[in-house]
Amino acid sequence: IELEYLDGVLQADGKNYHAWSHRQCLVQLMAAGTADTDIWKNELTATQKLLEQDVRNNSAWNHRWFVIHQANNREANMTAATELSTEIDFVRQQMQLDVYNESSCRYFVALLKEQCTVNDIAQIQLPTLLELSEVPDDAAAFWSTVVDLYEQIHDYGPAKTLLQTKLTKIDPIRQNYWNWRLQQLTIKEEEKQAQAQS
């Protein structure tokens, strides 16, 4: 009943920080009292409803991260709410709906970095992502995601190219930051080459 009440509140104000805080507290209490995993599946469905209404509701995305991690630890334990591959596919779909959406893109990067091996990302996830059709050059959220994933798999060349040709140009307010990333990647590149030689 309390959850229904919260549903009502969040329909009116989908990003109310206190409502979400209360919801997380409540859900943890309810889950602690039972071995039943329905609560986590239901919570996942609740976030999906909100995301269907507004794919940019960052609070809903944040709650989803909480749900798939069952609020237990920093490692995902997704068998209660969903499977990893299902979740990755879901997020990629949401990204396709709006490639400018920071919420879905950041969630995607974080999920892959935490859950997938370098091989996974290099062989499957990154290529699949790059198959998304007609991503505009100025979709900073999307391209910064690609940069982060290239960095994660230690493929510094393409990451640097993206920074030089796209991000420093289409996102000038963050120019200093993108240039700093370029520097960092160059350092990593040099370290990698030094290691390869030794």
């Binding site: 990003k15 979400w20 805080s21 609070s59 991690h69 609020a71 919420s103 930051y177």
Partner: protein
């Protein structure tokens, strides 16, 4: 959105000058200091009073005083001595003893001690005490701070919460009150200013704060809560004071912070996909300044600098 003043018609430039917003001889924007001070006066002066609606801030009187004192300090405006004395008296009136040996500042007379109002009161007292010691109120303010430091320490230690948290130690805003990163920030700031940064108070705080960092890179108010500018500032500043910021995910924090600047307005948003607001120029802008310092510390590897931040300064206890 931003207009180059040199491209404005002369009549518009003159109008801006008449309003006092533009310098007489150059195109520099001027801060209307006198008007800001006039506005702030509402909080302490008999000449100009707060509107009735401010009754809602009756539990925040140290805050009103702090905002006014701090703003005047930044604007380089000195209050008359009598006003400073009256402010000091009000702050002292906000002190409540819990027992003979411990207490803190509440939002008003006889109100229970609270971490936020204690933060505001102590910072206000520091501003007053930092005036020339030849001034009676400054001398009294410093004396008073020395007097309350031990009871404050005892009270702040009782705000620690170990059992109800999974990672580290949280701080409550008041006895039986909510736990979130604001409380850690308020308590550690007060501790640092008064030379009270001891393990008995600060042990475990960093672990809790770091557990509040989200997948986005910013910090939420409590573990798993959404990354938010206000909480990001509190966590970042507190971790920096504890010399532990480098143990958080600094690259992720850096990225989230820079992403918070809006390209259209130039200001900061508090969370992803939410709107820009002036207050975040402080929360997020301030966090940026601290993160820059942390990066500089790492890059220059200044051992002496780290020692200064982490050492327990203990001149009086």
């Amino acid at each position: 959105f931003f207009v180059d003043f040199s491209s404005l018609p002369v009549s518009q430039r003159e109008h801006l000058r008449e309003c006092g917003l533009l310098d007489e001889d150059s195109l520099d924007v001027r801060l209307l200091v006198e008007k800001h001070v006039g506005y702030l006066q509402q909080t302490w002066s008999s000449e100009r009073n707060l509107k009735m609606s401010f009754v809602s801030l009756d539990a925040s009187r140290p805050w009103m005083l702090y905002w006014a004192l701090h703003a005047c300090d930044l604007l380089n405006h000195t209050l008359p001595d009598e006003d400073c004395q009256r402010i000091l008296n009000t702050l002292q009136a906000c002190w409540t003893n819990i027992t003979e040996t411990m207490g803190g500042f509440g939002g008003g007379i006889s109100q229970m001690p609270h971490a936020a109002t204690t933060y505001a009161a102590v910072l206000s007292l520091c501003i007053l005490a930092s005036h020339s010691q030849e001034k009676e109120f400054a001398k009294e303010a410093l004396q008073y701070l020395k007097q309350i430091r031990e009871p404050l320490f005892r009270w702040m230690v009782t705000l620690r919460e170990e059992k109800a948290v999974k990672t580290g130690v949280a701080i409550r805003m008041h006895h039986d009150g909510e736990m979130d990163v604001r409380a850690s920030y308020c308590v550690v700031t007060v501790a640092k200013l008064l030379g009270l940064q001891k393990p008995e108070l600060t042990n475990g705080l960093a672990d809790y704060l770091i557990s509040c960092q989200t997948y986005e890179g910013g910090f939420g108010g409590e573990p798993w809560a959404e990354a938010h500018g206000g909480y990001a500032f509190c966590a970042t500043a507190c971790l920096f004071m504890l010399n532990q910021l480098q143990n958080s995910n600094l690259p992720a924090l850096t990225q989230w912070l820079t992403a918070r600047q809006m390209s259209y307005e130039g200001g900061f948003s508090g969370r992803s996909n939410k709107l820009v607001d002036g207050c975040y120029s402080f929360w997020q802008g301030g966090a940026v300044a601290i993160v820059s310092a942390a990066h500089a510390n790492i890059e220059s590897n200044h051992e002496s600098h780290r020692m200064k931040d982490g050492a327990d300064i203990d001149p009086w206890l």
